[in-house]
């Protein structure tokens, strides 16, 4: 008899953890080898000191799994999550982010080595870059952890104080070293280190002050957000605004970073308009102060009128700021300041950040004015009004609204400060796919129909635009500008959606997926095969699709000058589609979709015309895709059938699932994150590995957060219990079967 030798289970576990860390270490490391480098790359990767860090992490994971009972007992305590977050932020700051741009890779290790080897640098900087950064991290993290485990309040307080100190020293040391070395530095390493240390300090404070056994982060956040609706936004506005006014660059001709005060000196006595001069001298501070005070008062006293006044004031202040920014750049260019590159150029981050701050404060005022509904503790029955009207509101607190509004502020005013590469990425990768994901969310998330050929409608929209702008070999009866092609493309996709959906929507699940998949490929192959010399085959369109033009006679604007213009066009389209869909979700049709997705038989029994409703979802999704196609065609100019491969359809499905099926904000977030990630990873990991990392992110996400980034209310409830009412029932509800998915 052969008897198998059985090892104790922990051996396998340990080997798995260590093996995993070796693999990870090699994934992260440089991989310059080739198949005939005689294993050099492997050797480099393995002998790199990095591998020991990873092995250490592997051992920690092993210990965590082996003693998971103990770990679990402490992992739920208040302060653990902020502790982890702080450590991660600090690690990112120390090992990923740049600390000084002019020097080599600019990371902390490089910069720190240079600083410590220069005796003339201020001692604080030498101490920080010498040892304090890592000693500080180790000591504060360990002390906070110990304070959490043994409930030592004094230690928690002390550790929090040390964290704040280390954070302050980091910023001071960085600015001392940079002022010693000179040069232009746009790095965020030191600021990130400050944030990380503040989060660590927060962990200490939470550990010191909290008296509960298990942390209820969500409840805590909700309580903070509900304390005064809009207050967090106003606070954010204050912080950002002060930073912008005091520290940030407002004008950077020829590499000089001028703050607001410097800019005022520079433009003293120039041809700057009265408002702009006043803005630089005092008006800027004044409007900011007025908006912030108004918003804060509105938020604190929950005054409706005051809230609207604050929001209006913020709009005015933003307009004044933008006018000033334009005036600065235009005047400087006209006067021929060295390094000035034209209108809207050379404007550092200051003005734009102040706009974000003003927007944030104004949004806070608006929330205070609207008094967005907060989770009501009493049962729904007690609230008198029609229950269906509230479908949207139940479980909606101001948290998501605040985040969304802040995101809008960022979307409006962040892109001008981004590099050309990121502006391009924002428009071509992120923006278009966000639009596609919103559309597909209607089909998959709301109506529950798995559509794997979604990109076909995108192709139809693109080719329709190309046809009507005369960019295909076959000329149209009438030439249209791309903007006029929008309704035509929407109509074409609507019809295509109905034609495809009519006969196929009686299929369900897998069958529908296969049919749509086939449809997607058919459209692409038709485009390749070039029937009747219509599509110009695999070479793509014959002539560039023109840029959109608005021509009202007295005013004419043509897109194409920069990616930013397309970004704002895209924002307008996104906003329109978002508002439309947001209304749809709560409408009668939205309920019908929900019913069909939940149970088609029951939907039929309650009087829903299931065929019509499904067809509508299909057609609406298709026309959104067509709209995205119009935008894409006129933005890139040239495109070919390769842009519409199956892979793209699958990507959009992944975005929707990743973001949270059935959640509008989730679809946006999912598409944004997953399209941003490859561009972000470009600088961080070897390019061949990028897709693998994205796959890893997807897998981790689906294991730990299957409902998506921002789950739809229904799915969230399904996975975590009822709209956050009684935490004690959560455990029972987890046992409820998850349903059939899509």
């Amino acid at each position: 008899m052969n008897r198998r030798v059985s090892l104790p289970p922990w051996v396998g576990r340990l080997l798995a953890c260590l093996g995993g860390s070796v693999v990870l270490a090699m994934m992260v490391g440089k991989q310059q080898g080739s198949k005939d480098d005689y294993g050099l790359a492997f050797r480099e990767a393995v002998l790199n000191p990095r591998i020991f860090y990873f092995l250490l992490v592997g051992v920690l994971v092993f210990l965590g799994i082996t003693y998971q009972d103990v770990v679990r007992r402490y992992a739920g305590r208040p302060g653990v999550r902020p502790l982890l977050a702080g450590v991660l932020i600090l690690l990112a700051s120390y090992f990923l982010m740049k600390w000084y741009d002019p020097l080599g890779d600019g990371k902390l290790a490089t910069f720190g080595a240079a600083v410590t080897s220069t005796p003339a640098v201020a001692p604080v900087a030498r101490i920080f870059f010498g040892w304090l950064w890592w000693v500080g991290l180790l000591v504060t993290a360990a002390a906070t952890a110990a304070a959490i485990v043994w409930r030592l309040r004094w230690l928690a307080w002390a550790s929090a104080a040390v964290s704040v100190l280390v954070g302050a020293i980091a910023v001071a040391a960085h600015s001392l070293a940079v002022s010693f070395a000179g040069g232009i530095d746009h790095s965020f390493g030191a600021q990130t280190a400050l944030i990380g240390n503040l989060v660590l300090a927060g962990a200490g404070v939470v550990a010191a002050m909290s008296r509960v056994e298990t942390a209820r982060t969500r409840e805590f956040v909700e309580r903070v957000m509900a304390f005064r609706p809009g207050l967090p936004l106003v606070a954010m506005g204050v912080v950002l605004g002060v930073l912008a006014l005091v520290a940030a660059t407002w004008f950077d001709p020829g590499g000089k970073n001028l703050t607001l005060v410097d800019t005022q000196h520079l433009f003293a006595g120039s041809a700057l308009s009265g408002v702009a001069s006043a803005y630089l001298a005092w008006l800027g501070y004044a409007v900011f102060a007025v908006v912030v005070v108004l918003a804060a008062t509105a938020v604190w006293t929950a005054q409706k009128t005051l809230g609207y006044v604050a929001a209006g004031g913020a709009v005015v202040a933003i307009l004044v700021t933008l006018a000033t920014l334009h005036d600065i750049s235009a005047t400087a260019t006209k006067a021929g300041y060295p390094g000035s590159a034209g209108e809207w150029q050379n404007l550092g981050t200051g003005g734009w950040v102040l706009c974000i701050a003003l927007f944030s404060a104004g949004a806070g005022g608006l929330i205070a004015a609207r008094r967005a509904p907060v989770i009501a503790p009493e049962p729904a029955l007690a609230r008198g009004s029609g229950a269906l009207g509230r479908l949207h509101q139940v479980g909606t607190s101001t948290t998501l609204l605040s985040l969304t509004l802040f995101g809008v502020g960022l979307a409006l005013f962040y892109p001008p400060t981004a590099t050309a590469f990121w502006q391009q990425a924002l428009v071509t990768d992120i923006g278009v796919y966000v639009l596609l994901a919103i559309g597909l969310n209607v089909v998959i998330g709301w109506a529950g129909l798995l559509d794997l050929g979604y990109i076909a409608f995108y192709a139809l929209g693109s080719y329709t635009t190309a046809y009507f702008t005369g960019s295909l070999p076959v000329q149209p009866p009438i030439h249209l500008s791309p903007l006029w092609a929008i309704p035509v493309a929407i109509a074409v996709c609507l019809i295509a959606g109905v034609v495809l959906g009519g006969p196929t929507l009686r299929l369900r699940g897998d069958y529908l997926a296969i049919v749509t998949l086939g449809f997607g490929e058919i459209i692409r192959i038709i485009a390749v095969n070039n029937p009747g010399d219509f599509t110009n085959g695999p070479r793509g369109v014959a002539r560039a699709v023109p840029h959109p033009v608005i021509d009202l006679g007295f005013i004419r604007f043509e897109w194409g000058g920069s990616q930013l213009q397309y970004w704002y066009l895209l924002l307008v389209l996104l906003a329109l589609v978002f508002l439309l869909f947001w209304r749809l979700e709560g409408s009668r049709l939205g309920r019908a979709w929900a019913a069909v997705r939940e149970d088609e038989v029951a939907a039929q029994a309650t009087g829903v015309n299931t065929t019509r409703v499904k067809l509508l979802a299909f057609a609406i999704g298709a026309s959104t895709s067509g709209l995205a196609g119009v935008f894409f065609a006129s933005q890139v100019g040239y495109f070919n059938p390769q842009n519409f491969i199956l892979n793209n359809s699958i990507l959009v499905v992944a975005f929707v699932v990743f973001g949270g099926m059935g959640s509008l904000t989730g679809a946006i977030a999912g598409a944004a994150v997953l399209t941003w990630l490859p561009d972000f990873l470009r600088d961080q990991v070897p390019s061949e590995d990028r897709i693998m990392w994205i796959g890893a992110v997807l897998i981790v996400m689906m294991i730990f957060r299957p409902a998506g980034l921002i789950p739809a209310r229904r799915r969230k409830a399904e996975l975590t219990g009822l709209a956050g009412h009684d935490p004690s029932v959560d455990q029972d509800l987890r046992a409820v079967p998850a349903g059939e998915g899509v």
Binding site: L381, A387, A595, E598, A602, L722
Partner: protein, 255 residues
């Protein structure tokens, strides 16, 4: 639903009742298979009528055809004087025919409240008074008002499915095996509720395997066997019928 339906005179006055549903020579096919082979039956206003039969006898097929989910191959279905065969369910519900499908079919991820509101989907604005009325009829649903329907017990889900159908203000309620998979005590409750609904003037066409209880409840009953009607009569008559007792009630025939 007293305000939805002109109140009938209650149980017992069989002769004076108006014919509500009239099914004549109904034939239903699944492809080449004829599932229903020309049956005729009727439901009068205010009546509870039970369709009985073993598995595969065609009870559910009959009911699905009445509710518009299946199209008849031949024969006619008349509701309140209108031909309704071939009318899809979402239009039929506007005439007041509400169907509680077999196997409960609640919307699992909607709350009890939303499920009930979906029942009133055919009305543009939901009727709050009707909601209160339904909740009074099902106190359990009131307790679970904000809970997801998928988390309810089987009996509660069945109550919810019935309550949801009531939100559509039915004149004729089609109940498909409401006792399926439920504990005897719960079945008893459900049948009590059906009796209550009927007392409010709603006619009920009940499909059941649980013959004894169905017949105790029903004014009249029909027995289906492989797509054909083999027996018809009042509930009491059928309960006393030897063949029924042997086939469905599992009783030994005396002598």
């Amino acid at each position: 639903m007293s305000h939805a339906v002109p109140s009938s005179e209650g149980r017992g006055a069989t002769e004076s009742r108006k014919r509500l549903l009239d099914v004549v020579d109904l034939e239903v096919r699944y492809g080449a298979i004829t599932a229903i082979k020309g049956i005729s039956f009727h439901v009068d206003e205010g009546e509870i009528v039970a369709l009985l039969g073993a598995n595969g006898a065609g009870k559910t097929t009959t009911q699905k055809t009445v509710s518009g989910m299946l199209r008849p191959a031949a024969g006619s279905i008349t509701f309140d004087g209108h031909r309704i065969d071939g009318i899809p369910p979402h239009e039929l519900i506007n005439l007041g025919v509400c169907h509680v499908p077999e196997g409960r079919h609640v919307f699992p991820r909607m709350t009890v409240e939303e499920n009930l509101q979906m029942g009133g989907f055919r009305f543009r604005t939901p009727d709050q008074d009707l909601l209160t009325e339904v909740l009074d009829m099902f106190p359990r649903l009131k307790e679970r008002f904000t809970q997801q329907a998928g988390t309810l017990s089987g009996g509660e889900q069945q109550m919810l499915a019935i309550g949801r159908a009531l939100m559509g203000k039915p004149r004729l309620l089609l109940l498909d095996e409401p006792s399926m998979g439920l504990a005897p005590l719960i079945v008893e409750q459900i049948f009590q509720i059906v009796r209550g609904i009927n007392a409010n003037g709603v006619s009920v066409l009940l499909v059941e395997q649980n013959a004894r209880q169905a017949l105790t409840l029903a004014d009249r009953g029909y027995v289906l066997e492989t797509g054909e009607l083999v027996l018809a009569g009042s509930g009491r008559e059928l309960l006393a019928d030897d063949r029924i007792r042997a086939a469905y009630l599992g009783e030994e025939l005396a002598g």
